[in-house]
Symmetry: C2
Subunit: 183 residues, 2 copies
DNA sequence: GGAAATTGTTTTAATTATAAAATAAAGGCC
DNA sequence: GGCCTTTATTTTATAATTAAAACAATTTCC
């Protein structure tokens, strides 16, 4: 390496104007894994932020509520609280609170499960279905526009690489669980 | 398309055991952009969740506090509240609260800025620096382990593709700002 | 059948997060 | 200098989030 590269240029910037985020202050010799994680987080947060803002402005709904409804929309038979919690990757208590508020608003219904009285089955009400159907094409349009700078081949590669990453993460967390208490 | 593909197999699973997340219920004909966004979010959330849990178990610190300290650690001259807010991509009020608690714990110090009395410069105290130095190599080890299933070439490709995505997101949000109020 | 462990959910307390309004200091413009 | 706008931050109110404890129903094991 040449000695005159002592400062750290933003490696993502080819011609982009300044933007400061978590990556900004990384040293040029930081670990590839760390750079990757921070960039992933930045991308994810950028999309999330944008979607959150637009959902509020356009539909006066919060992202977590939309998210929960999206899961229910794709599950015709409804989902239990636990299924919602694991799909959304949030705590049980969080789902309880979100569902409570959506029930109050009449968008979602909780029905007791005949076979197992511990569980509730949650599903969209017809009002919820109507509301969600109005939002989903607009939401998809936002995502498409945000990803417009990627061509289909970029997207396919990215999807595949993220699939590998997901398996790596799963393997790592499975290993941790398997080893729990063995020290 | 053949008619017998009415159910949706998990496109990320090559041989992975069952895992349900936001992607699980996507129809096989859903937009590539949407699949990509949900997979990105899943990966991001998986890492975040793991790091959050381990930081608490191992160092009894929350992820947002660690995150804030990490930014300060890489900024020898300290950062203003606004810089922290934009780097971490969280609201101003959030940074105020986090900084308040870190100051109480003695990990971080706020100093008034001579040149501009509106701003505060926030930096790690020596106690904060010591605490962070103890955490950072362990934290890096966790990330490395989680990404161990990716070879260096995968990581390089992924970093580059996420760089493109980041530019796409930035372009899209710049466009929206430029068009604000022009309707 | 009954004790013990497991599972599904809610509750509780604290933290984190947002958006919007309020405050306050700087800077620009006559 | 004095007004207006912008910028930096805090405050307020509310929502989301977590971890841990509490609860309740189910399953397992004898």
């Amino acid at each position: 390496m040449s000695a005159d590269r002592g400062f750290a240029p933003d490696p993502a910037a080819e011609d982009a104007p300044a933007m400061s985020d978590r990556e900004s202050a990384l040293a040029h010799d930081d670990k590839l894994e760390l750079r990757l994680w921070l960039r992933l987080l930045t991308c994810s947060a950028m999309i999330e932020r944008e979607v959150r803002t637009r959902l509020r402005e356009r539909f006066d709904i919060t992202l977590p509520r939309f998210d929960l409804m999206a899961q229910l929309d794709r599950a015709p038979g409804g989902l239990t609280m636990g299924e919602l919690s694991s799909r959304l990757m949030v705590s049980n208590g969080n789902v309880t609170g979100l569902a409570d508020r959506l029930v109050q608003e009449g968008l979602v219904a909780r029905e007791p499960e005949a076979a197992d009285r511990r569980t509730f089955r949650v599903r969209l009400t017809s009002a919820g279905k109507i509301a969600f159907d109005a939002m989903t094409p607009v939401h998809e349009g936002w995502i498409e526009a945000m990803l417009h700078g990627l061509d289909p081949q970029d997207m396919a590669s990215l999807l595949a690489l993220l699939g590998r990453l997901k398996r790596s993460l799963k393997a790592s967390s499975d290993g941790r669980i398997r080893n729990a208490g063995k020290e």
